[in-house]
Amino acid sequence: MQLFPCPFCGPRSESEFHFGGDAGNHRPEGFRAVTDGEWSNYLHARNNPRGAANEIWMHMTCGEVFRMERDTVHHRVARSFAPGEGDGHDGMAH
């Protein structure tokens, strides 16, 4: 079992969390102006890094959605950010 830090609840089992995709992968704005390529990139292209990853996660029991920096090789979590934390770089569209 791995522990993830929910910015509100603190360390909890990974089984309480749900993956929310790459941080910063915001839905393209502009409706008809959005090209097929942009839409396809938003839906399907993933960063899938080896090493440092920057991701959105949800803590299912409290509902908090947050950004987490972790490493996909050794699984160390660098830190998690509460919504609005980190100079606005919480990875979410506001």
Binding site: M1, C6, F8, C9, G10, P11, R12, S13, S15, E16, M60, T61, C62, G63, E64, A82
Partner: protein, 182 residues
């Protein structure tokens, strides 16, 4: 013909249901008024004189208290709809009555630490500010009540039957890995 009725057992009689093992007894708690309050929780706590909110494994006192279940949400017990109406309040919170949505069981005795170890992955010495957690694979709200050694567990009503069966199976409660006959 496929008979799916045998897949599920009838709900226990909540008025009579009771489980016990060495150092622990578990019984349902019925009739609690339960409300979800979302929004400015600190202001709400002050306005209704509820003191501090109760976090994971924290100790709630009396019949009227608030348990923290998210950054911006409380499960409030014992505050009636006559005192606090459902819906949006301009002071900064929204209220929903969930009395019928959640079932509550109470465990007593020194065995509750073992029960927590069995049902959760929480560190009992550093449980954190939020009482919402996974218990036996379900979303639950868990805290102490009235005295150390008493634990209240709220789960979705539809999962209460499963919770009871899970409890019946626990060696801690004399179970042998199978639910007791009903």
């Amino acid at each position: 013909m496929l008979d799916v009725s045998s897949k599920w057992r009838p709900e226990p009689d909540w008025a009579l249901a009771r489980l016990s093992g060495p150092g622990i007894t578990i019984c349902p708690v019925t009739g609690l008024t339960q409300r979800l309050v979302s929004g400015d929780v600190d202001r709400f706590l002050a306005r209704y004189d509820l003191g501090r909110d109760v976090g994971a494994l924290g100790l709630a006192l009396g019949e009227r208290y608030a348990v923290r279940v998210a950054r911006d949400r409380l499960l409030v017990v014992g505050v009636s709809p006559a005192e606090l109406a459902d819906g949006w309040h301009d002071e900064g919170w929204a209220v929903t009555t969930v009395s019928a949505a959640l079932r509550v069981v109470e465990a007593r005795g020194e065995g509750i630490r073992d029960l927590l170890a069995r049902g959760t992955t929480l560190d009992p010495d550093d449980p954190g500010p939020c009482a919402a957690m996974s218990f036996a694979g379900m979303m639950a709200t868990i805290y102490g009540h009235a005295e150390a050694g008493t634990l209240r567990i709220h789960v979705d009503r539809g999962l209460a039957s499963y919770l009871w069966e899970w409890l019946e199976c626990q060696p801690l409660l004399g179970g042998i890995g199978e639910p007791a006959p009903r």
